[in-house]
């Protein structure tokens, strides 16, 4: 009996060394990343929904509301950095929902009961979703070009803008990952996402100049991270002073990572 039981054990139970463990953390993260991207590509609806919503916003604000909104210069150039930041933030709905689903279906239990790297599920999720986000951002930039948007500050700042949007999205992704794991129910996660992401992105400089808002709202809009990030993106895309809003953006983003990454990790460890 014992002999049978032992020959059935395919894995050695001995503790692997540190180097092996680091290697596993990387390969496990890549495996999870690959899995998530595979799921994403397998369901065209995901791509369509993540892209169609921002495209509709582009068209709506460019051709419907845009004429009534007065900004210095062309409105479409004002609009696009805001839409891109919002697209990045909204893309993280998918992060929260996917994690909540995996939690509910027991996928996370299965993975946590396996001898894989504990960090890989979250890391792979963040890597895959950041990739997904970048693709979406590039598509929206293309759509922006089709409706008249132009970068007017050179190639390097344009790339920096896309990069900043992606890092911003990744920070929001950490918050979404935490909410997905902490709430653990798909519908609630979706509803909760609307509650915090809508105000955060709309009560900013994304669509209208903040000076047109009532004073009490300006106080919020002027001092929240989404505004700093969008102002920086705008300066990178169109020219103008970058530094003042850039450092505030970076401090905010660092703060979000420092707070929400550990929270998400903790929620994963205690999942279920």
């Amino acid at each position: 009996m014992t002999a049978v039981a032992e020959s059935a054990g395919g894995l050695g139970a001995a503790e692997p060394g540190l180097r092996t463990r680091i290697g596993w953390a990387i390969t496990d993260t890549l495996t999870i990343t690959r899995r998530n991207l595979l799921v994403w590509m397998r369901v065209p609806a995901y791509l369509v929904f993540t892209v169609i919503q921002p495209v509709m916003f582009v068209l709506l604000f460019r051709y419907v509301f845009g004429g009534a909104i007065h900004v210095a210069g062309n409105y479409v150039n004002f609009l696009m950095p805001g839409i891109i930041a919002q697209t990045a933030a909204f893309a993280t709905f998918g992060t929260a929902i996917a994690l909540a689903q995996e939690l509910k279906k027991g996928v996370i239990d299965r993975l946590r009961s396996m001898p894989m790297a504990r960090s890989a599920v979250l890391a792979g999720r963040l890597v895959a979703d950041t990739g997904r986000m970048l693709v979406t951002i590039l598509i929206i930039v293309g759509v922006g070009y089709a409706v008249g948007f132009r970068f007017s500050n050179g190639v390097v700042p344009a790339i920096a803008m896309v990069l900043l949007a992606t890092v911003f999205g990744l920070a929001i992704c950490c918050i979404s990952a935490y909410t997905g794991l902490a709430i653990g129910d798909e519908e609630s996660v979706q509803a909760f996402g609307l509650i915090w992401l809508f105000p955060l992105t709309f009560l900013s400089s994304a669509f209208v100049p903040i000076a047109t808002m009532p004073g009490w709202l300006q106080a919020f809009a002027n001092n929240q991270p989404v505004t700093y990030v969008i102002d920086t993106m705008r300066a990178l895309a169109l020219g103008g002073p970058v530094v003042p809003s850039l450092w505030k953006s970076l401090v905010w983003l660092a703060g979000i990572f420092v707070v929400f990454l550990p929270l998400a990790v903790r929620a994963y460890r205690r999942a279920g």
Binding site: V39, R110, A120
Partner: protein, 348 residues
């Protein structure tokens, strides 16, 4: 590993395990010992603490007190070693529905750090073993419920675990898929894998387990083989319904002397049942005669095997139904399997 000073250690050892969720004491000091290569059936209603015990043993949850070892490794201190030894198949199919069956198993293989070729061949082996070869390259969301559960079980075997935990492996399956799952579980046990399976069904534990423990309110209330437990219930059960509610008391009197233990009568539905030990069909004939002699009309007179409800009633004096103090949303009522809550003991 299994030998310490020449003494065989059990594959699973649990001593005084406790766990509370806030006010709810899910486990109140559980002891288990599962020898290598055997199957332990953990029987109990929803909320009894079965899933909590499995989650602790599979390192998903930390116990509050007591100790638990799998293959000699402590589930808290040596959690990583435990994870290299076990497989887990939970209550729902923990698979990625958008991916194919093959992709699901290959990914799990990679996460067990098998090489790509090995992960591929292992996936092919398991798909074949579980009768999923034809569906291997279809998205798992198009699988039937039974196929999804088989895929889930296959996933738990990718790492060739020595100890396998199955949490209610047939809950929600249709009868045919259930029998298919039983065959698979039997063949795993025959292959020498140590198994711990939880179930709400006495017949399932009876079919599959070498030893059964019955859990209620976080405590082990009985342990033994299926035969021993059924013996405590009084073996088979004669059951019938009396359409005329006024004759229930007479019917109870008519079958009292043939029963082992008192008959149970449900005053609302008119259903009466009584344990008859090993006398089976003889007792059935006797029941027909004495009810006929008393001129009582009956419906659905039959002989059946004892259910979890009967075991619970015999062991605890309360029905399996009465668990409502569950910590999370894992409760699925036994209500549909039961005839009603108004079971009452009728004194004679």
């Amino acid at each position: 590993m299994s030998q310490v000073n020449g003494v065989e250690q059990p594959a699973i050892l649990v001593e005084g395990l406790t766990k509370s969720f806030g006010e709810v004491r899910a486990l109140r000091g559980i002891d288990l010992s599962v020898p290598h290569g055997t199957v332990l059936g953990v029987l109990g209603p929803n909320g009894a603490g079965k899933t909590t015990a499995v989650r602790i043993l599979t390192t998903l949850l930390r116990p509050d007190g007591g100790r638990a070892e799998v293959e000699g490794y402590d589930v808290v201190r040596d959690a990583a070693a435990v994870r290299r030894t076990i497989g887990l198949s939970g209550q729902s199919a923990a698979i990625q529905e958008e991916l194919t069956g093959r992709e699901n198993l290959e990914i799990i293989g990679r996460l067990y750090h098998l090489s790509w070729p090995r992960a591929r061949s292992r996936a092919t082996e398991l798909l074949e073993q579980f009768g999923l070869s034809d569906a291997a390259d279809r998205a798992a969301k198009n699988y039937s419920g039974g196929m999804q559960r088989r895929l889930d079980l296959a996933a738990s075997l990718v790492g060739q675990p020595r100890v396998l935990f199955l949490d209610e492996p047939t809950t929600g399956l249709d009868p045919r898929s259930r029998l298919g799952m039983w065959d698979i579980i039997r063949s795993l046990a025959a292959g020498g894998t140590t198994l711990l399976l939880t179930t709400q069904y006495l017949d399932e534990a009876d079919e599959l387990a070498d030893e059964i423990v019955v859990i209620d309110h976080g405590l082990v209330i009985a342990a033994g083989t299926a035969e021993e437990l059924k013996g405590r219930v009084g073996g088979d059960v004669v059951e019938f319904a009396v359409p005329d509610r006024r004759r229930i008391a007479d019917a109870v009197v008519a079958v009292t002397k043939m029963g082992e233990g008192e008959p149970h009568a449900d005053q609302e539905t008119g259903v009466i049942y009584v344990g008859v030990g090993g006398r089976g069909s003889d007792a059935l004939i006797e029941a027909v005669r004495s009810l006929d002699a008393a001129n009582i009309e009956t419906h659905d007179l039959r002989l059946r095997r004892p259910s979890l409800d009967d075991v619970f009633l015999a062991l605890t004096g309360h029905a399996a139904e009465e668990e409502e103090d569950q910590p999370s949303g894992r409760r699925r009522g036994l209500r549909n399997r039961r005839r009603g809550q108004a079971d009452a003991r009728v004194a004679s």
